[in-house]
Subunit: 681 residues, 2 copies
């Protein structure tokens, strides 16, 4: 346990045990909130972006808003339909990465992986930034400090995930269902009032929007098309997170794929309903919404607005008006929206380690990430994710509108490759499938995926054209960097694999073992090391002592003789108090004298339980081990001696081992006892 | 090589080799500059402090200045004479710590050690702050930024010492001799002009000093005594660093003690001459010098000075006047003074690791500090020293006058305990000595040390009375903290020692060895581990594989059979991709089945050369080793397989090993080849 751990412990208290995880896989009613928060939370910012884009051409362009909403809804329907095919075909939770790798090859797979890595960072940055804006719309004092508040939120999320949090059950269900209820309820109430003709206006309805420079006068058809394309591509931010379920199939109750597909359908239906309702309501309630950088384009009776004017997010404005300034209603809607945005960010903290683990298994990430329980690698991933998100938040001042420009390109890159992969998948399956019913289903699936690809390809092209200079280039650059790193890691593993490929001569056994036991004092650890070394019956066994001063050397030699150990003691002189080098030199010398033998170095080690004790012991042993490993023909044996305090560490390790890890739930990892790795011959 | 090392390498370039150290012990003419810079540099600030203190009672109190100078000189003479006894009696370089420990016991020894630790920090802070003031007196733009400049200087010194610097020869000799020549030359020239009646006035001579609040009117005898006591105790800052030679005796040429004593005498003579000359000149040249916080007490013709007035250090003022504003002369004096102050700070960087090493040998500091070559422990010490000094510099805004209040108490605590120890030493020696001539010499030595103790005890009392509230309490608090830490470390080592004391049953040999070789793949490292394990002829030998997915398990089992290894393979299932726990459980199980046997776990390890390769390999092995050590009855053997890139690391390690360390020179460590640790039976 390092100093950092102590700090973490003090900061975060005791850790959750995985036995608290709950014992079952997720039923649909729980899986929906667990996996839906990312996708559903998009309605908190996607409609806003549509209105911002259209506002460039003045409020009159808002007539296009619901048409754009329908276009986005169509794309979402196509994507949801496509992913329903994926969860059936690839129920292992590998998601887009697996689909692309299996069907299109490693390059496509790593491209998807880079896109996903970037997206996780952006999910955190965008969701938290949007959440900070909602918070600021309800809490006056936060206004102007959104970036700071967002950064604090990310740090808190990081801390919670470092500690280990149970991502399941009520923790997700209550706020997610509350959000659905609040938003759908608000929309229903609003639409009822619309039908009854009593729909009020939002606070910004009395404002006018001046057209942005370049949009004065009537637009050319091309300019209009381009504007609508931009609005549409911004609106497609609503699709982010739809793919989450395809990565979480193992967490579902059986029949997993079917339940996942049903949940996906529910998610799509709810998301589309919410988004369209909000856009229609906002339009009908006279919303005026511009880029927060262009607030001076908002005017009231031809006069510019006062300096302190604050533009609240669309849902906040609708909530305030629909509930006729009934503050509890407004506060409830805004609060649950803020919470679901934080939950959406949290899904990234859960998805990131899962992706890291899958990449590690394929050799694209450090192998240690691949096995559960490498706390360090795992923590590093979470810290890295938080850090990148904080940088983005700070650089873009927590402005969702700016961050959105970076967001969508990654999502659609993986959508596209995944759809293309699915088409290949069906084509391949069709080659071997004979059953007519199966074939019909496959044809149908292929058509769905083809439609999906067509839609997402169009969106990707539009996104690239409209957003490249606005920020998508940053995402693409980051993807290239991730891609290059993953390929380099894989290349390194491949090279090592080649270098290490076994041949026949590797079986040759050393002809003799020359064992040396390092002696610093004649105490229990040394005696144990001597006994263990003796038990291995080496050809030669001797103690080795590095003499740094005459007094202790004499005492040791005397004691050695008195104890009658039956093992000779070799004394290496080291006038300058160096300990490591004489031993290395001696080992090298033995090996030179007998190149076909092996030198076994036994190091007695103290096992202690407290981090500061670690600083006081074993430092020389550690250094020596590190150096000896570079000496060919040497093997290094640590003979541990457990001091009483080591029990502290063992207990801690066991607690640590049983700790919940982010991503556990979505991998379908449930409670287990230590007896579940059966030993088999 | 960690990331930090890479940064260091980029920052600092290649490291010095110890073969560049020079091959000989130090002759007196080189030893003097190496050890004198700390003591001699004190004249750059000690006289200033005397004048500042006296100025409280107005310029008229300056009549006392040279009398105080003589009092300080007397104390210095007594201290030098005392330390000449020490270098003869304790030539091993243990200095005050050794004297106090041997003669007064461990408590006195650790008290001295705490005092020395605090003093090293203060030496850096005071010398560098004073150096920054000299730099500011010559370089206009630095004025007002002394603390920043001083911090930068400390960081540069830290970097140089982390890299390893040769502390010998011309590096020290040229600037130190230049400083002596410049200062003594300036003083001689000034005194000549004084004799000839042509001594000019310093720039501040035309100013008046208003008495400080509380000192108006004529002083009571008590108030005057107290003022003189304060001035005297500040002047005693001139004594700091005198003890350095007693820690460096091993570095001298033979006869070491005699040469060290002679050098000490020369040092004392030069330091006294310089200090007295400077005080006399300053007084005669009409210096007006006040606390830099009280510049408003300086007036000109009754008017306060303009805001921008800058008070230059005493030596700078004298130099400017003596050389009649001949700028090169002034610049030379100020430059060499600045340089020697930096060298003085550097001696602390050299002394700190030496003290740490001695404390480690006695169990008061982490044992790793005791052997040369623990780069990490050693670097941590240097960074710690620099950090503490920077904190002091920042807190006290690099004001020498403030820092001096903290400085002297530590020095005089160790002076006192050391003198007391020497008196005990002679008394003890006299009990057994028969030879009349020897006895006479011992009596004489004891008288000298008694005089030394009397003087230093008086100074310590005066310092405590006059400076406790002004800052000495900080030093005392820090000493208490260091003291407590050292005792706690020692107590821990003692407890462990007790827990580990050997008894007869420890010799009992395990009855059987059950060896398991961890298998992840069937490649060269695994085959080598199997061969090595086989060579130790255990009672049972088996490969152990943790199966995380069926595909790779089948492939491995197939290959295992094909290769006909003659060793069974045990497969442990781990559905949740955990690797460590199944192995721990299995080892525990074997041990339980045979409590008198030992489980030998062989781990094939990749040895790589680049830090990032380290991240990609062995992480699981590392974690596993850490956990296995907590399992009783298990020994863990690393069987290294050196990848080609490991040669890079081996080369680097060898360069590292040959690197110069701060403190090498003063421990008398000279060039050596790898053949100098003879192997003896």
């Amino acid at each position: 346990m390092g100093v950092g751990d102590v700090a973490k412990r003090v900061l975060l208290g005791r850790k959750l045990r995985s036995s608290q995880l709950g014992e079952t896989l997720l039923p649909k009613r729980i899986a929906l909130p667990v996996f839906a928060s990312d996708a559903l939370s998009s309605v908190a910012y996607a409609p806003d972006e549509v209105f911002i884009m259209l506002s460039l051409a003045g409020a009159s362009a808002y007539v296009w808003s619901w048409k754009i909403g329908i276009a986005v809804a169509l794309v979402m329907a196509a994507v949801v339909a496509s992913y329903r095919q994926t969860v059936h075909a690839y129920p292992s939770g590998g998601g887009d990465y697996e689909v692309a790798t299996v069907n299109l090859g490693a390059t496509a797979g790593t491209t998807v992986a880079s896109a996903l890595l970037v997206d996780y960072v952006l999910t955190v940055a965008v969701s938290i930034s949007s959440g900070a804006q909602y918070a600021a719309s309800a809490i006056e004092v936060l206004r102007g400090h959104e970036a700071t508040f967002a950064t604090i939120l990310v740090v808190v999320l990081m801390a919670i995930n470092l500690r280990g949090i149970r991502e399941s059950g009520t923790f997700f269900a209550i706020p997610t269902y509350a959000f659905m209820a609040a938003t759908l309820g608000m929309c229903a109430f609003g639409l009822l009032r619309l039908a009854g003709g009593s729909l009020p206006q939002v606070e910004s309805a009395e404002l006018d929007i001046e057209k942005a420079p370049g949009f004065e006068g009537s637009l050319t058809t091309f300019a209009l098309m381009f504007l609508l394309a931009r609005a549409f591509s911004s609106g497609c931010a609503a699709l982010t997170g739809v793919e989450a379920i395809s990565n979480g199939v193992p967490a579902f109750r059986r029949p997993k794929s079917k339940n996942a597909a049903t949940t996906l359908f529910m998610l799509g239906a709810i998301a589309i309903t919410m988004m369209l309702s909000i856009i229609v309501l906002a339009k009908q309630m006279g919303l005026r919404y511009v880029d927060p950088h262009d607030l001076d384009r908002l005017t009231q009776n031809g006069e510019p607005l006062p300096d302190g004017y604050d533009q609240h997010p669309v849902i906040a404005q609708i909530a305030r008006a629909v509930f006729n300034d009934f503050t509890p209603g407004f506060l409830f809607v805004v609060t649950v929206t803020g919470i679901i945005l934080v939950l959406a960010a949290n899904t990234a903290f859960n998805g990131f380690p899962v992706l890291g683990s899958i990449l590690a298994q394929d050799g694209y990430a450090p192998r240690a990430l691949g096995s559960r329980g490498d706390r360090l690698a795992y923590s590093n991933g979470i810290v890295f994710l938080a850090l990148m998100a904080i940088i983005l938040i700070q650089v873009f001042n927590a402005e969702t509108t700016r961050l959105i420009q970076l967001y969508i390109v990654g999502v659609f890159v993986s959508f596209n490759l995944s759809q293309l992969g699915m088409i290949r998948h069906w084509t391949r399956r069709l080659k071997s499938e004979k059953d007519a019913g199966e074939r019909a289903r496959m044809y149908r699936s292929r058509v769905i995926n083809t439609v999906g690809l067509t839609f997402t390809a169009v969106v990707l092209v539009i996104v690239l054209i409209t957003k490249f200079l606005a920020g998508a280039w940053i995402t693409i650059l980051a993807m290239i960097v991730f891609f290059a790193i993953m390929r380099a890691i894989r290349r390194h593993y491949d090279n090592v694999s080649l270098e290490l490929a076994a041949d026949e001569e590797d079986k040759i056994m050393p002809t003799r073992v020359h064992a040396i036991v390092l002696v610093s004092k004649l105490h229990k650890p040394t005696l144990r090391a001597l006994a263990f070394a003796k038990a291995t019956r080496p050809n030669v066994l001797e103690g080795v002592y590095v003499a740094v001063d005459a007094g202790s050397t004499d005492r040791l030699l005397q004691e050695w003789d008195d104890r009658n150990l039956g093992v000779p003691l070799k004394v290496l002189f080291s006038p300058y108090r160096e300990v490591v080098k004489p031993i290395i030199d001696y080992a090298t010398q033995i090996r030179k004298a007998n190149p076909r033998g092996v030198v076994a170095v036994y190091i007695p080690e103290y096992v202690v339980g407290r981090w500061w004790e670690q600083l006081l012991h074993n430092q020389t042993a550690l250094r020596l081990k590190g150096r000896l490993l570079f000496t060919p023909g040497v093997m290094v044996t640590s003979v541990p001696y457990q001091l009483r305090s080591s029990e502290l560490a063992r207990d801690r390790e066991e607690r640590e081992q049983g700790r919940v890890r982010a991503g556990d739930v979505r991998r379908g990892r449930v409670d287990r006892t230590s007896s579940d790795h059966q030993v088999q011959r």
